[in-house]
Symmetry: C2
Subunit: 228 residues, 2 copies
Amino acid sequence: MERIYAGKTKDVFKDDNGEIVLYFKDDMTGKDGVFDPGENQVGLTVEGSGRAGLEMTSHFFKTLEANNIPTHYLSSDLDKKEMRVKEIENFGDGLEVICRYVAVGSYYRRYGKYIENGTVLNSPIVEFTLKDDDRQDPVASKETLDILGLLTNDEYDKIEQLTIQISNIIKEELLKKDLELYDIKLEFGKDKETGDILLIDEISGGNMRVYKGEDNIHPLDIGKYLFN
Amino acid sequence: MERIYAGKTKDVFKDDNGEIVLYFKDDMTGKDGVFDPGENQVGLTVEGSGRAGLEMTSHFFKTLEANNIPTHYLSSDLDKKEMRVKEIENFGDGLEVICRYVAVGSYYRRYGKYIENGTVLNSPIVEFTLKDDDRQDPVASKETLDILGLLTNDEYDKIEQLTIQISNIIKEELLKKDLELYDIKLEFGKDKETGDILLIDEISGGNMRVYKGEDNIHPLDIGKYLFN
């Protein structure tokens, strides 16, 4: 297998048959040893976190496929910490799409003058951000994404609609275990064969903020609730 | 006269008849003595800049009124550096609305990964920002401005449309003198009597980036071209 991309929490390989394999590492984003899904750097290494991330990702991708959401998921091997996926093309160097149900994190940091931390939003807010560590992943509007040549207006609308659909499904899944989804970060790409827009990357504890009552659930603990 | 607000470049007074008077100071926004319309602090003091700002503001407000744009302008007295205006209510602690024709300044700083500095935009981009020095005047979307209780969706649409209309008029005015408008910052408020949305504040060199060919025209020099 040839490594074609080294990410913060995952490496991407192309195997001898030309299939794409994601390898889930034991690294998590954060700062000074504390996990933070909004951070742009590896902040800690936790044994077992790769496997846990893959287990949750597989679970959610299967759930989403059952709900007719198009994803890049093909199969997974928990022991090898590997997930086989369809080959995709990124939008530019990648976009992250955030769906917010509660005002926390960077949303609160930006708008704290007018909203209290933890305020439940009347309707979910979707924000598109550019993957750009040097510029702190700036938020970009529909018009700007078009100007930058990253998304047509139709693609934007489609991804926005998918984001709300997907996030609502995951929110419902978590709610069955009395867990509350505050926000979640998704990624999309284009199927290299068909050109279809697919949900890509992973959906694990590292991509979301989850609470149980007043308690912020550590990303590695979400699985304990979800699979019991 | 009683001072009811001390701003960076203007003070606001209420006179004995209850009328609102803006006093244009000789202070300009910038950093380390260099003018920058995007800066949030007074960076330099230049004798005559208050009068020059008022002269240009009066000129543009009169031009806009002639084009049926509703503004807060009533009259001005250049020697006193005073402008009389209608009393308004702010949206929250104030919004700034930016209309961009060319990718420069903070737009380039955010999106420089995908766009070159100085790229002419196919169509003008309008961005709403919150006046909030502590949070570097964050950009806010239509949905967020609604959630924060600052603008209804109807008010957003109205202000966005007015911003393009106003900016285009100013762009045309400048073009007559071979000056090119790169971007401009406007403010809006609600008429305290009628509730109408009005263009408020000032429209001077300090609110816009203007070029003549390759040369960035200093805000205090724009008037020399405009009034000759």
